[in-house]
Amino acid sequence: MDEKFEPVMGLEVHIELSTMSKMFCGCASDHFGKPPNTQVCPVCLGMPGSLPFPNLEAVKDVIKLGLSVNSSISRFSKFDRKHYFYPDLPKGYQISQYDLPLCSGGHIILRSGKKINIRRIHIEEDTAKLLHVSNDEESYSLIDFNRSGVALCEMVTEPDFNRVEEVVEFLKEVQLIVRYLGISSADMEKGSMRLEANLSVRRVGEVGLPDYKVELKNINSFRFLDKALRYEIERQIRILKDKEKVIQETRGYDQSKGVTFSQRSKEEEMDYRYFPEPDIPPMVFDDKFISGIVRELPELPYAKRDRYLSDYGLPSNYVEVLVSEPERAAFFEHAVRLDSRYKVGVKTIANLIVNKDFDRKYPSPESFMKKILDLMKKEYASGDLTSKAVREVISENIKAVEDYNKGKGEVVGFLIGQVQKKLRGKGDPALILQQLNNALKVKGKL
């Protein structure tokens, strides 16, 4: 009998916060494309005697994210030191959070209605960046400390994913929320959003977690995410079908070969020797502080979707496109506000943004609305021309009118086509229909 397997997956998502300065010092945190080691100081270089001074904006940003995904915010939180030796970690420890993260719990609901639970969201500092150089003559590694100490937020989910599509949808939603909050560009290609997936496979119908997991690393685009996960799931299923055991380990993804490969066996658990960071006093947040942050929250994508559907009656594929970028949604809403003056209709506005990218061509909502008006004037024949054409079509198509009177409603389509022909396609469909209906009603009574 052919056994069916399903993956069980949980995620660790790292989001680099776009605060002006780093997590614990005054250095600029935007490091992308900057010359190496130009945004550094004693603190982020781990010089003797340097001390961390926490960036309150970064703490607030993480609380914002927590509030946006239904987490509960810790009223008492602290930083901890996580120890390990690696050349990208100049102090020999990373300042992170262990048992009292800023945010605990939370969830995101997928389109299918499935709830993905979030375990925790905490704040930490990013490490330096290693550049491995290897050629025929020599091989060495370079360290760029521009990234060292940049504020990083880590979201850990429960192992609630059973399909690759769920992972992709969840991540896209997290990315969108983060962008709405304006706390990060969350760009996977630039490394401002990074992902580790914990993945194992079980027989369909089994409940509970398998007794092993594989940690999958270095996935740096949505395209490779999908491929890497599928490859790894297939690999594990093959092993299980052969009645073998999957080794618990950390695996990387090789983009060029499209395969995952073993990086480090995880048989022995790392001991990070966490202890409370003595250089930073614990953080205490009162209700006033939290409610102040709540007031700063923008309308989030899931709320916007609901509103666009219910208030504007837009099709859900339109809503998705409009909401998929905060700038787009803002443009759309601005145009809709202007429509109280222009009266072109929300659907027309949405249509031109979604199908014609008009928001890109006319970057100011005012010019966009004016353009729509111009187009409508140019495209649609005047009311007088339209009613003249309608009258002509009706008198030239006595047969069709009779059919209509006999109850054959479908001839209306034919008649509209005839009117448009006379107007060389420049008629306003709504106006034609309205005039045709009026004329047919009059004819019918005769």
């Binding site: 340097s50 001390l51 001074f53 030796f85």
Partner: protein, 460 residues
């Protein structure tokens, strides 16, 4: 003329001497007392440069200079744990033998902008691990009162720098008594301020939750002047707070039973009892208090401190800052191993977490005691100075030297080592402890004591 700060400043402003003369004087003393091994680096040129600049200012602005440079002409030395931009900083360890910092500690900057002149960097136990000065990788510092004895530690060179008249004042660090105990062994004042009163930024960290920047001085007023200049928030040390208060009446002195146990040398005890008589004679109310968890303080300290040490020394990986990790001495290795062990998973709860709970207990007991008294009096070191080599082979014995000073670090409260009395050639003294940010009260009580006993500081 080169005694107290005010004496020296008076001489400078009256034109009797120049700042350069002050530097001359102390450099000459340093040369004379070279055998004490108090200095690891003497910053001759920097000192003259600074003094010459100040002399120019004095000649153009006269007295008004004091408004900008309140500590004009004050010659200072720093324990070699304080980072000094461009000047080698070793922490007493060969690991940093050739390390030249790219920046200066907050207190170094504040000292210099207030007019203090750096004369050099002082010897200390490597990484501030020790209570005798013998753990320095650059040889022990000698007690100026008897060169066969230790000056106390770990801020050995700083204490000797002041006691032997090699600088007006000196900065040390006090993690478990490293300012108060050497001050006690050398016969000078040693202030360990409230944790969070003085910036630790730019000070090679030993145990971050216990480390305090302290001040040595021969004159009480100098200690206060220096403390006032360096204290307060700096936007770099997140544990800093601004604070301070007066009580507006004669402070009540508490005598904690646990600090007067049979483990303390009777000579030391007897001397503190005499000090207490002076206070009583001066109309001070004296009350007995109980601090029952004092006996656990040293155990708490030797869990929390090595844990933090093991973490703080992780950055000296042998790749940066000069020398290889092979250069770490035995005591540092001992603490790294001990600290790594107590933080290991499976042992954390049993050691570090339990120690943190007892720490809270000790803090609460102090809080309780300070409800009925304003300051506490106690011995500083359980013994008089010991011979070089006497305890160095027995780390546990050495650790117990801190038994009476460690509680103030655990609780984060200020404490002042006050010189008083003698035993043979050695000075004796006592410490005053107060609630957080009560430094003013400690100064007030010690100042009153100085007047009552007509105490005068004489460099050795």
């Amino acid at each position: 003329m080169f005694g107290s700060i005010s004496e020296t400043q008076k001489a400078i402003l009256s034109g009797d001497i120049k700042c350069v003369d002050v530097v001359d004087h102390f450099l000459q003393k340093i040369d004379e007392k070279k055998h004490l091994n108090a200095f690891l680096t003497v910053t001759r040129e920097q000192a003259y440069d600074a003094a010459k600049k100040q002399d120019k200012l004095v000649s153009s602005y006269g007295r008004a200079v004091l408004e900008r440079l309140p500590l004009l002409g004050v010659v200072v030395s720093y324990k070699d744990l304080f980072l000094t931009k461009g000047v080698r900083t070793t922490a007493g360890s060969r690991v940093l033998e050739s390390y030249i910092p790219t920046y200066s500690a907050t207190i170094v900057e504040r000292s210099h902008t207030s007019g203090m002149i750096m004369i050099g960097k002082t010897n200390c136990d490597a990484w501030a691990h020790g209570a005798s000065g013998e753990n320095s990788d650059f040889g022990p510092t000698l007690n100026p009162h008897n060169n066969e004895f230790v000056p106390g530690g770990s801020s050995s060179g700083s204490a000797v720098s002041v006691a032997a008249g090699l600088s007006h004042v000196s900065f040390g660090t006090d993690t478990g008594g490293s300012v108060r105990q050497p001050a006690n062994f050398c016969g000078i004042y040693g202030l360990k301020p409230t944790y969070g009163a003085v910036s630790r930024y730019g000070v090679v960290a030993m145990a971050s939750s216990l480390d305090c920047v302290g001040v040595f001085s021969g004159y009480l007023g100098d200690c206060k002047k220096v403390f006032d200049v360096v204290r307060g928030t700096d936007g770099r040390d997140a544990t800093l707070k601004n604070g301070g208060f007066h009580i507006g009446r004669k402070p009540v002195i508490g005598v904690p039973d646990e600090y007067f146990s049979e483990d303390v040398d009777p000579v030391v005890l007897e001397n503190v009892m005499q000090a207490l008589e002076v206070f009583k004679g001066g109309g001070y109310k004296v009350k007995r208090v109980k601090l029952p968890s004092t006996k656990y303080a040293i155990s708490v300290y030797y869990i929390v401190q090595p844990a933090e040490v093991s973490s703080n020394l992780a950055r000296y990986d042998g790749i940066r800052f000069g020398e290889s990790r092979e250069m770490f001495g035995l005591e540092a290795k001992r603490r790294i191993v001990l600290g790594t062990f107590v933080l290991s998973s499976g042992y954390y709860d049993e050691y570090y977490k339990k120690a943190s709970k007892v720490r809270t207990l000790i803090i609460n007991e102090f809080d309780e005691a300070f409800k009925s008294v304003d300051v506490l009096i106690s011995p500083v070191s359980p013994s008089t100075p010991f011979r070089i080599g006497e305890k160095s082979a027995d780390p546990l014995k050495m650790y117990l030297s801190d038994i009476l000073t460690v509680p103030a670090n655990i609780a984060g409260i200020p404490a002042l080592s006050v010189p008083f009395g003698r035993y043979k050639e050695f000075p004796l003294g006592f410490q005053l402890m107060g609630p957080k940010f009560s430094e003013e009260i400690l100064f007030e009580v010690a100042g009153d004591f100085e007047r009552m006993t007509d105490y005068k500081f004489i460099p050795v």
